[in-house]
């Protein structure tokens, strides 16, 4: 199995670097263009949450990303050292009139992640949160 590690400071500028790496690894895995777009978006949402909610934007706190490639899947772990979260809400979340009027324009991240990847897992404690995303290869290499 191949592992790629990436550490970035908690600055949303560097979310773009993780995203670019994810795209490249999606290509390596032979994913379709559309699947690579799904991957980029899911990774982007997870890293954004790790920076904003996990590390509360403390630049000195880094976000660790581990990409694990094997025959049948790409697994991505996004790890922060924040206060953790009791439970994630991955219910369908759509734009609503009331929310627009109240200026509540966020909250799509976890729903998008849950829809875009094949599997996800959360491990969270007072030491931090690890979100694990998995995308499977369309068909096994011969």
């Amino acid at each position: 199995m191949n592992r790629i590690h990436l550490h970035i400071p908690s600055d949303l500028l560097f979310e773009r670097v993780v995203r670019a790496s994810a795209a490249e690894l999606g290509t390596t895995m032979g994913f379709s263009d559309e699947r690579i777009e799904d991957l980029k978006l899911a990774v982007s949402e997870a890293v954004t949450n790790a920076i904003e909610h996990g590390n509360s934007g403390k630049r000195t706190a880094s976000v660790e990303v581990i990409f694990s490639l094997d025959q049948d899947k790409l697994e991505i772990e996004i790890i922060d050292s924040g206060p953790g979260v009791q439970s994630f809400n991955t219910d369908r979340r759509v734009v609503e009139e009331d929310n627009l009027e109240a200026g509540m324009l966020r909250g799509f991240g976890m729903y998008l992640i849950s829809e875009l990847v094949d599997q996800y897992e959360v491990q969270s404690s007072s030491e931090g949160t690890c979100l694990k995303l998995r995308i499977f290869r369309p068909n096994k290499p011969s």
């Binding site: 949303l12 773009r16 949402e45 954004t48 759509v94 734009v95 627009l100 200026g103 324009l105 729903y111």
Partner: protein, 121 residues
């Protein structure tokens, strides 16, 4: 990054304002520069996504600010040149209810019908 003119190019086509998003990534980094253009809309405003390769939820959030600003004034907002992937994402969160996707020819037809000069192609 913070210079709005490098991130949005504003054009008028008849009475329609077209805001061409020039950054390929509509995300937390480009959001504030994009947002500035939401103060300069027409009764009909079209956001052009031709150059946009990526939108995340921080990007969706800034797009919704255009929706909010348009609704306050009773204005209408549309989008154009949305990639198949982003059409999927927009449908997932029902963005399209508030910011319908239109086709290039429908925009041209509207502008023609309203007596404005269509740009020579």
């Amino acid at each position: 990054m913070s210079d709005v003119s490098t991130v949005i190019k504003r054009e008028e086509l008849g009475d329609v304002a077209i805001l061409r998003i020039l950054t390929n990534s509509v995300d937390a980094v480009s959001a504030s520069a994009i947002e500035q253009a939401s103060s300069n809309m027409n009764p009909i405003t079209v956001l052009d996504f031709a150059d946009v390769a990526f939108i995340n939820s921080a990007g969706i959030s800034v797009l919704l600010k255009f929706v909010v600003a348009a609704r306050k004034e009773g204005h209408k907002i549309f989008c154009i040149h949305v990639s198949p992937h982003h059409q999927k994402i927009f449908k997932m969160v029902e963005m399209t209810r508030f910011m319908p996707i239109i086709e290039e020819q429908d925009l041209a037809a509207y502008v023609d019908a309203n007596g404005a000069q269509a740009p020579s192609s």
